[in-house]
Symmetry: C2
Subunit: 462 residues, 2 copies
């Protein structure tokens, strides 16, 4: 019988614990020892739920934790919380870990290593950025810190810095908590993952919720009170009083440990892996927000922090570690979000991204309804498709609407995953009944309009 091997996992959230669980499913404790270290207080939680938890939509913290350390131990996975990996010795096959609370350090050996260190919120290197009350939103402890802040100090004015998904979701959470909310973004629109025309709809929606938008304004620093708490946010144009600040400037892969160990990190800052989630270093795997993915439309490397990718990549790593075969082929940039009654979705490339990838594009935007117009509950939605000139290949799609709008992005994501043209898409056999769609689904109307644009462009150019 072969000697028992040891799998070490750095990071106890989605990617790391999926890898551990899959490996365990395929290889029993006699064959494989599994140790996972996590520096926070929680493992295996739903990080994407933080805005809903902070906003009071989800009220029970326990519901966010899919498995406790005890449950992992029962399954033969030795999960150690408050244990931080501080150095990887890839040649020696060992990781130096530190007891966060006690401070002691030791080396943990491994036969296989999974790096699942996640991402860290971008913190601008500005005066006051480390003031108390300036919150990033990445791990569950961040959400708990915001809740504590709300309870202990009853802040009145929140400033959200950054208008991406997290920024907008947190702005809604603060509105729900009764705060006056301002949102500052250096760009001219919130939600830069959408084109400006679609982003403008979101801007109007946010204003409708009572959020004050300061767009095109660069943050220059944070004023601090004598007690060390943030007091205001300074932009190039104004000073916004603030009792609480939320940073929604995005996240970057937490790949420092890997980089220092000589494990290859790509241009996005994410760890480079192959399709099986193996890094370029022997017996070192990586999964989740810390890795770089291939964008299947642009072909470029991208770092997209999203729980669904983290879970898939963790599973793929775990299947392969367990002796199976699985691959993560890449992403197409699908994302959905809900901000109060507004639903937002996108997939593929937006116009700016498509241009950067060298595509010449044509776009079509249609306004339609989510159900048959005569059916109760029908609401309007905007659907935008971006197609390549000449070929008509679908490159991207964006949706802004209300109830039952956003998940239509799935069909569009699958269409561009399969390199369909907008002309081909006009024939698609989509579900139709009055409570679900007009007789021409918004996706089909948009495909028709985009196909007409491609055809007209060819005629005008010939």
């Amino acid at each position: 019988m072969a000697a028992r091997e040891r799998l070490l996992v750095i990071g106890g959230d989605a990617a790391g614990m999926s890898a551990a669980s899959q490996a365990r499913r395929r290889r029993g404790p006699d064959e494989l020892e599994i140790v996972a270290v996590e520096r926070g207080h929680h493992a295996s939680y739903a990080a994407c739920a933080i805005p809903y938890f902070v906003g009071g939509v989800v009220d029970d913290l326990g519901k966010l934790i899919s498995r406790t350390p005890a449950q992992f131990r029962e399954r033969g996975i030795d999960l150690r919380l408050r244990t931080e990996a501080v150095e990887i010795d890839a040649d020696g096959g060992r990781v130096r870990v530190r007891d966060v609370d006690g401070g002691g350090e030791r080396w943990e050996p491994y036969d296989d290593l999974v790096i699942a260190t996640g991402a860290v919120p971008v913190r601008p290197p500005l005066p006051g950025t480390d003031a108390k009350g300036v919150h990033g939103v990445q791990i569950l402890d961040d959400g708990l810190a915001i809740l504590r802040h709300l309870e202990d100090r009853a802040p009145r004015r929140a400033v959200v810095v950054g208008g991406g998904y997290i920024g907008l979701e947190m702005a809604e959470a603060m509105v729900r908590r009764g705060l006056e909310v301002s949102l500052v973004d250096a760009a001219d629109q919130p939600m830069r993952t959408l084109d400006p025309d679609m982003g403008a709809i979101i801007a109007d929606a946010m204003r409708g919720l009572g959020v004050k938008l300061y767009l095109g304004e660069q943050i220059e620093g944070f004023d601090t009170s004598p007690d060390g708490y943030v007091a205001a946010v300074r932009t190039g144009q104004r000073t916004l009083p603030a009792d609480l600040v939320i940073l929604g400037l995005g996240v970057r892969p937490a790949s420092g440990l890997a980089r220092e160990a000589g494990i290859e990190v790509g241009p996005t800052g994410g760890i480079v892996t192959d399709r099986r989630m193996r890094t370029r270093s022997d017996r070192v795997w990586a999964a989740g927000d810390c890795v770089e993915n291939r964008h299947l439309v642009s072909g470029a490397p991208v770092a997209i922090a999203l729980g669904t990718h983290a879970n898939k990549q963790g599973r793929v790593a775990g299947v392969n570690l367990g002796g199976g075969y699985a691959t993560f082929p890449g992403v197409v940039g699908t994302a959905v979000s809900k901000i109060c009654e507004w639903e937002v979705a996108r997939t593929g490339l937006n116009e700016r991204e498509a241009a950067a990838a060298g595509f010449a594009t044509l776009s079509a935007v249609v306004e339609s309804t989510t159900r048959a117009g005569y059916h109760p509950g029908a609401t309007t939605m905007q659907t935008k498709l971006i197609a390549e000139r000449r070929s008509g290949r679908l490159l991207g799609a964006q949706i802004v609407g209300r109830e039952n709008a956003a998940k239509r992005i799935d069909g569009l994501a699958i269409a561009l995953w399969n390199r369909m043209t907008v002309e081909e898409m006009t024939g698609l056999d989509l579900g139709y009944a009055p409570p679900f769609a007009p007789v021409w689904d918004p996706v089909l109307i948009a495909a028709r309009k985009a196909a007409e644009a491609v055809e007209a462009d060819m005629r005008s150019d010939s």
Copy 2:
């Protein structure tokens, strides 16, 4: 200048009027005269809305009519209601039409003809089938007749014959109107387009609504009162008192006129066309419920009466008649339906259909939630995938759930349209956020389970 041509359209609903409108968009009145004849009182209406209209969910008949005859005339389309085509003379390029109310007849010449005669409800050739109060559900006049029946005679007990989409939707409509409802079906399950395991969930849901189900019972006839109205429905097992009967036995293509004129009709009873919606007869086109389609998974001809196909086919015929190029490639059997709070969807082939087409299959059924389990409003849904053995190609999918479940069928329809395997599908980049999906969308969980079944089958067989 070329002589003005004449386009004659038989049938004033979705397919016919889409063809007329598209042809008109591309060829002006100086070039093309367009005449459309419709034997009913209404044109261009939403036939799929009849159950919702009868059930009182949609209360304004006017909302169902997308364009009035006057609006068509303004656009240069001479739409004549209560005018029935009774004979096609394909060699002579003319159609004999009858004034339904006045009785007069005349020949209408054409250069191009579009046959869009729709479908007719299947009426079993049984005693009493033509009694008053036995209603088919196909055209708007049928819905109005049911409403009149409800108002004039205040029926107490409704019997619905046939448990397909229309039967179930009409059963709900009768429940909404306060009637005691029984449903009889010769099959052992309602919704035979689903597999028995999924159909059983629907059966339970219908019983939960208070509908009495009599499954596996063949209809033998209808008892009639002295006043000519239906009094009971007789099955092989029992006599069900009935004040009102609704036939939901499906429809068949109304292809009699075409057949009599020597225009080719296929094995399904539908008119045979090519991809551009041309029949085998010169200058004769056909579109909508009266035609036969190619099923893109089985390869077999099918006749599926559905407004979304009718609209697409009409548009395709009209684009081609207008000098453009468009095709209708076929269908994959997608259908969705809502019965009270229950949503039902299917696409591709079910197990029975797949076996009939010669496929060996493996299935996976998963129960999951529509949103993240901790998010308010999350409900359970069942997703079933049917994959080909060995290749793992997705052949069909079925969904039964509540809010936000059914439209996930679109992504599955697009996946099988593109001949994806369930293994490939496990990598799909679908929209994830807690209000919209668990971190593993039900579609992905089902794909994983199906892929595991395909893999296990190969191993066990090697």
